[in-house]
């Protein structure tokens, strides 16, 4: 108050900048975060440019070169149908990344909306909706997915994405609801009501921005689970189109070979699943820490 206006502006803007800088510095000095970004970044890159860099088409069959071990021509060897494992692993990242992200986005959007409404209104609506969500989350993901997929008859990437989004909804709804419960008790919400704001404005303009940190954290955690869920479903042979370069189905098609010395066609896609999931979880952990949750 005693300082001149110029220096006030200076300090406020500067402080904001230093805070952001310091937070980024903390993230950058966090080895787990850097490792996670490198792993996930690598697979995103593969998903984008993989199609153009692989030495041969991932679907290309060559019955003359089945079950070759890794070599200069086939870096990761070939599988039982003579397809290049390297090409299939690199290109396979696209499908799982797109599907996992879509599923998580659906779950996050639906879950956040439900969490906002139930946490804000509380009462009977909350009780009713939460019991339904409890019922949904009582069922294992795979059981729901298998049921739904067999109902529509076989494999459908769209259904898989919807199912995983559906299963994630109650989990995210619960997290968001808990945050909203605390948030709606705060006086800024009362102040908004006191100027007769409409409920949607209060929910989306006042409360939502304040519960974003837990939503972001929950999103990254769920993304890791989505990768696993999709890999598992494709391993079981449902949820994805047959023959497409897919990590889960690659493991499924070849894992018996791990005992007859064709380990490469199983180990490389399995390692791909593991590295992507680990990478996402490393980022999730660091983000949680940076948001001080």
């Amino acid at each position: 108050m005693s300082s001149s206006p110029i220096s006030l502006k200076h300090t406020a803007a500067q402080e904001r900048r230093t805070m952001r800088k310091e937070r980024i510095a903390v993230l950058r000095s966090n080895k787990a975060f850097v490792a996670g970004v490198i792993l996930v970044g690598f697979w995103i890159l593969c998903a984008i440019v993989g199609n153009w860099v692989v030495p041969q088409r991932p679907e290309f069959l060559d019955m003359m070169v089945t079950d070759l071990p890794p070599s200069g021509a086939h870096w990761f060897g070939t599988d039982g149908l003579g397809r290049d494992v390297f090409a299939r692993v690199i290109v396979g990242s696209r499908e799982i990344l797109v599907m996992a992200s879509l599923a998580t986005v659906i779950g996050t959007v639906c879950g956040s909306a439900i969490g906002l409404v139930t946490g804000y209104f509380k009462g009977r609506l909350d009780l009713f909706v939460m019991r339904i969500l409890d019922a949904i989350s009582a069922l294992p993901v795979l059981v729901i997915a298998l049921l739904a997929l067999s109902a529509v008859g076989g494999s459908s990437a769209v259904i898989t994405v919807l199912i995983i989004g559906f299963v994630f909804t109650p989990i995210i709804a619960r997290t968001v609801r808990a945050a909203v419960l605390g948030e709606s008790e705060l006086d800024y919400v009362a102040a908004a009501r006191l100027r007769t704001e409409k409920t949607p404005y209060i929910l989306f303009n006042e409360i939502l921005p304040n519960v974003l940190p837990p939503i972001i954290v929950e999103f990254t955690i769920r993304l890791g689970y989505a990768v696993f869920a999709i890999a598992t479903l494709s391993f079981l042979g449902v949820g994805v189109a047959l023959g497409s370069p897919n990590w889960g189905s690659q493991v499924a098609e070849n894992y018996s070979g791990i005992f007859i010395d064709t380990w490469w066609s199983t180990i490389f896609p399995a390692a791909a699943i593991a590295t992507l999931a680990i990478g996402i979880n490393l980022i999730a952990d660091s983000v949680m820490e940076a948001f001080e949750l």
Binding site: R16, V26, D187, Y188, A190, L194, R195, P209
Partner: protein, 674 residues
């Protein structure tokens, strides 16, 4: 101090916290020594390092905190780098701590008996012995029925009762050092007084040393032998309590004492003094005196050279080159206010409340939290609302705001026109005319919105302006509240507490407010900031002729800002009158007890008038006068039979002074003058 080995000694202690990867010093080279049996008070504003000092004494710093230099000695033994097991032993046997929020200090899932007994078990007692000792410990902290309290869970206890339990646990081991961090801050004045009495008695019995931390100078004055004043992590003044508070030697202490509304100060007689500027940010590099930026008598030397803690005689230390000038330092520059009086001259009523009652239904019980309140408020007038928690202050405010709807038959009217009970049914002007300033600006301002957006949105909704107009009006409004134009684009988290509250006040002025409910608007603020905000509210009232309903538990503040005072107890208006009438007396017995429980900063001795027991359950109010089971004046009043059977009416005992009491005013006057 030539006494034997001190109980606790902090020797040149520096502590820093690692925040976002950088070490920031919180305590700077602090030396404190507490003699056996002595009570030492640490005072200072938020962020000055008081609590850090307390945690350091327990060797219980947060994970990101570390001792960078100096040492902590307990009874002459260095405990700075003692291993965890030995520290744990000390905490079990010799050092105990009482925290600010008693409810958080207790485990909500365990019964009280089990939690307290745990302490004795840690001390190696058997199961049965522990239970016996628990009963005894609870009796020692004046809990009348230990057996029934032991069977309860923490949430079933009142704040005062919970704090007693925490104190019982803390003194269970007969500690030689008790660290108390704001032990009474969340409590009502009456309960606070009782807890303080208890601590004083226990100390007299056991001779425990106490490190007492508080921002409340009145409390410190009644509790402590010596005090230390902390500012920006540095001990700026230390000495015997009386000496420091009567003749402070450091400009900061002088300023702090001047900020507090006390001694019957009123908004019409004097503006409050303030300390200009804000404290340095955490871990700032301070080459000179830590207070130099805000000091009105600082010279060049203060900026470059660190003053030493110098003895000014009789153990009164001060860290200032100009300590002899501090007492007479000039008052902080305040803008000259218009010469108009804030108190209204015409008394045309703005707000009229009649038969206002509110009944909540809890399980199948009807709980009446407000009973037949009648009030009127003039234009430009301030009505102070006082009473213990649970007295219905907040419910009354909410009913006026239209957030809760009162019972059938209640009327609230403005300018003679009845207001609808429900906010949604009030007209836009009516909504804008009654607004609120909340207690805690951190909670009242959306942390994700910019300052300008917060105020502009309120203008848009309450004044019915277009978006562009609102933005412009918001800028003007904020600048009016001395929120610099260049701060309008930042988020609330980048503002100090006082600035945040200014933004909240700006928002409440967005419509054309005629009545603003101020719900403890300064209790979350430091005293120097509080003075600023009170000055602002008074200035705005003079200019805009707005009326305030001012809720506060700080009677000094209420007295300063209010024209009239309403005292509530158990949802009933017990006393209503001008500020002077209510404060100077003769008082209602309840008001008398409230006033006497506030520890005086100026050290003037008052006779404590105690309220017996706790606030009764409002679903089963006592017969007759609701105060009679606790009333300090009922015995020997000659009207006991009336008090226990007939509820007294709110009668006008003097012109404009109303009381709900059977005891005649002259008798009250006689009793109270003794």
């Amino acid at each position: 101090m030539t006494s034997p080995t001190p109980s606790l000694e902090l020797r040149n202690l520096s502590v820093s916290y690692r925040v976002r990867g950088i070490e920031r010093s919180v305590l700077r080279d602090i030396s404190i020594s507490i003699a056996p049996g002595e009570a030492y008070g640490l005072v200072g504003e938020s962020g000055c390092g008081k609590s850090t000092a307390a945690f350091a004494a327990m060797r219980y710093l947060p994970r990101n905190g570390s001792i960078t230099s100096g040492s902590i000695l307990f009874e002459g033994n260095d405990i700075t780098s003692l291993d965890e097991d030995r520290i744990k032993d000390l905490r079990i046997n010799a050092i105990s701590m009482v925290y600010q929020n008693p409810v958080n200090a207790l485990n909500p899932t365990l019964r009280i008996g089990k939690q307290v007994a745990e302490v004795f078990k840690l001390l190696g007692k058997s199961e049965e012995e522990s239970i016996e000792l628990t009963k005894e410990a609870l009796r020692k902290v004046q809990i009348a029925e230990p057996a029934s309290v032991m069977g309860r869970y923490p949430h079933q206890l009142s704040g005062g009762m919970a704090q007693r339990v925490v104190i019982a646990m803390a003194i269970a081991s007969n500690p030689r050092l008790l660290v108390m961090d704001e032990p009474t801050t969340g409590l009502d004045a009456t309960v606070e007084a009782e807890v303080l009495d208890l601590v004083r008695d226990l100390r007299r019995e056991s001779g425990t040393s106490v490190l007492f931390i508080s921002h409340n100078l009145g409390v410190i004055r009644t509790m402590c032998d010596r005090i230390g004043v902390l500012y920006a992590g540095s001990l700026v003044e230390e000495g015997p309590t009386e000496t420091v508070l009567n003749a402070p030697n450091h400009p900061y202490t002088v300023g702090l004492l001047r900020c507090i509304p006390k001694g019957g100060l009123n908004k019409n007689s004097e503006r409050l003094d303030t300390i200009a500027g804000t404290p340095p940010s955490l871990g700032a590099n301070l080459p000179g005196c830590v207070f130099v930026d805000r000091c009105t008598i600082a010279v060049d030397r203060c900026k470059t050279e660190k003053p030493e803690l110098v003895d000014n005689g009789s153990g009164h230390f001060s860290k200032c080159f100009l300590s002899d000038q501090a007492v007479n330092m000039p008052r902080a520059k305040v803008p000259v206010s218009p010469n108009a009086q804030a108190t209204p001259t015409s008394k045309s009523p703005l707000l009229e409340i009649e038969h206002l009652s509110k009944t909540f239904t809890q399980d199948t019980n009807d709980v009446r939290v407000l009973t037949d309140i009648a009030l009127s408020l003039g234009e430009g007038e301030t009505l102070g609302l006082v009473g213990e928690s649970g007295s219905g202050k907040t419910t009354l405010a909410r009913a006026i705001l239209g957030i809760i709807s009162p019972d059938e038959g209640s009327t609230i009217s403005m300018h003679g026109k009845k207001l609808d009970a429900l906010l949604g049914k009030r007209s836009a002007e009516e909504v804008g005319a009654v607004q609120i300033v909340f207690q805690n600006p951190d909670s009242a301002l959306n942390r994700r919105h910019t300052v300008a957006r917060i105020v502009a949105r309120a203008v848009q909704k309450l004044a019915g302006k277009s978006r562009e107009e609102s933005e412009e009006l918001a800028q003007n409004l904020l600048s009016d509240m001395s929120v610099d134009a260049l701060l309008h684009s930042v988020k609330p988290s980048q503002l100090s507490g006082g600035l945040k509250q200014r933004v909240a006040i700006a928002r409440s002025f967005a419509g054309k407010p005629e009545l603003i409910v101020c719900d403890e608007p300064t209790s979350a603020l430091d005293v120097s900031v509080q003075a600023n905000i009170l000055n602002l509210l008074v200035d705005l009232q003079k200019r805009e002729r707005v009326s305030y309903i001012f809720i506060s538990h700080d009677l000094g503040v209420v007295r300063y800002i209010s024209d009239r005072i309403a005292v509530l107890y158990l949802g009933r208006l017990m006393e209503l009158g001008t500020s002077e009438a209510v404060f100077n007396g003769p008082h209602h017995p309840y008001t008398e007890a409230l006033l006497s429980s506030v520890p005086a900063i100026d050290g003037s001795q008052r006779v404590r008038i105690r309220l017996g027991g706790e606030i009764p359950n409002p679903s089963k109010p006592p017969s007759g006068c609701v105060l009679h089971p606790r009333c300090p004046r009922v015995a020997g009043s000659g009207v006991e039979h009336l008090c226990t059977s007939v509820e007294p009416p709110l009668a006008e005992v003097e012109p404009g002074h109303f009381m709900r009491c059977h005891i005649p005013l002259t008798n009250l006057e006689k009793l109270q003058s003794k």
